[in-house]
Amino acid sequence: MPNRPDPPTRAVTLTVNGTARTVHVAPWVSLLDTLRDHLDLTGSKKGCDHGQCGACTVICNGQRILSCLTLAVMQDGAEITTIEGIGAEGKLHPLQEAFIAYDAFQCGYCTPGQICSSIAMIEAGHGNTREEVKDLMSGNLCRCGANTNIIDAIMAVKDGAHE
């Protein structure tokens, strides 16, 4: 493919974890690369960059999406929550506490995506049984195999054991 001259960068404003931030990015820069490389928010991970692992899951306008398969320019004006915006200094989110209590991670690489994904699932009111939660969390792979404990942690929060 003949490469064309680069088009100008675009100003994109994202409200990330409650703060409006403007970046200047080329049209092809993914939301994930924008968060990691332009906004220094490296909590969201790049596992595959192809929509297959869920490590890049963020909450965008209230919904969990894969930040590697959307472009920053497409999200101009959006409200994004990343793992950095969940919980506060000295006060973990109940899911973060549950992940510790239930030993729901080993290397931790998938964890930011798992936590963003499960928070959005619970907020959407989905996943009424363990079986459904497993299905609805299947987009977040864990190569360390902590899956059973991850589901345990989510079920504990859903059942109110970790408020």
Partner: protein, 339 residues
């Protein structure tokens, strides 16, 4: 990967004009297929025309004939969880929830879902020949790895399957795709939307490059009482179908008065044959009746080695799904029992 320019369309007119100006321009909706293909160097847009500003394509509305209009830009998840879809078209709701993952379905749109490309391994590998990607270069799948591939309607040029789950339910529901282009609007019945590969496997469907899908319209009949989507795959969730079946039935006094069966994972498009459905009329919904319908539906099926198993699997799936359709409550939304 090439660079590209970007335009967020404010109106349908602007979107259609944006596409017409340059053949390499492409629409983008959820981006979940396009961005993936672009990263693999399989597609090379000059400019992306973003459809996400077209609010008129983001609604689900009831039609005067009792049907339902699904806007092209409504997400797959918003469609699946829409109260009217859940109540009147549970077959569609369950089918959508059996596809991809929650994150992908939140971004993926109804129009984009129909236009996703095949998952043939060779199509994805730029180092391989592939008639769909580079017309005339050959089809290594025919003699190669073809576990995912077609057993029906294939050609000597291409044996790829269409990967969409949603399209299989839409085929059973006899949906109509509404499109707008420079010459105005037209309606494409779903059966004519996707095509068989023939000598032009580079074309997946009958949509013109400068046409925009505006909606997918469902007819009034939704088979809410008797329906099922059975998706068979290598793992219980987050995998493409090896074989899938969407079945909708209407029954009176224990006999079938109307039947629709569409099979996914077996062809370049959802596979349906009215003769197979007619053979079920006035029959009791028994394994024998569904077996006879399966024989008509799968007549002429050919295996290519790794996908030989699909012929028997499809037959059994049609029979089992007929039984599941009688009692939709045995199916849990989006989840089949696993360990």
């Amino acid at each position: 990967m090439n660079n590209f320019d970007y335009l967020r369309a404010g109106t349908i007119k602007e979107a259609v004009r944006g596409i017409a100006t340059q053949p390499a321009n492409q629409f983008i909706a959820g981006g979940t297929n396009l961005i993936d293909l672009w990263k693999y160097d399989l597609t090379h847009p000059a400019r992306l025309i973003d459809l996400n500003g077209l609010d008129e394509l983001k609604t689900i509305t009831e039609l005067p004939d009792g049907g339902l209009r699904l806007g092209a830009l409504v997400s797959n998840n918003a469609t699946a969880y829409h109260p009217i879809v859940e109540e009147r078209y549970p077959l569609l709701s369950r089918t959508i929830l059996a596809g991809a993952t929650a994150q992908i379905r939140n971004s993926a749109t109804n129009g984009g879902n129909l236009l996703q490309r095949t998952r043939c391994y060779y199509f994805y590998d730029v180092a391989s020949p592939c008639n769909k990607r580079v017309p005339g270069s050959g089809c290594p799948a025919i003699e190669g790895q073809n576990r995912l591939h077609a057993i029906l309607g294939e050609s000597a040029q291409c044996i790829a399957t269409h990967p969409s789950d949603m399209a299989v339910a839409l085929a059973a529901l006899e949906a109509v795709v509404q499109v707008t282009g420079p010459e105005g609007q037209r309606s494409i019945p779903i059966a004519d939307f996707h095509r068989l590969p023939g000598n032009t496997p580079e074309r997946d469907n009958t949509l013109a490059a400068d046409e925009l899908i505006t909606s997918i319209d469902l007819p009034a009949t939704g088979y809410a009482a008797h329906h099922s989507y059975l998706k068979l795959r290598d793992r219980n969730s987050y995998a493409f179908a090896l074989v899938s079946v969407a079945t909708g039935l209407e029954l009176e006094d224990g006999k079938i008065t109307r039947a629709r069966i569409a099979v996914g994972g077996v062809a370049h498009k959802p596979w349906r044959k009215p003769a197979a459905e007619d053979a079920l009329i006035d029959k009791e919904p028994s394994p024998e009746a569904f077996g006879a319908a399966a024989d008509i539906l799968l007549a002429g099926a050919t295996g290519y080695g790794h996908n030989d198993f699909k012929i028997e699997l499809a037959r059994r799936a049609i029979i089992r799904n007929g039984a599941m359709a009688l009692d939709p409550s045995c199916q849990r939304p989006g989840a089949q029992p696993s360990l």
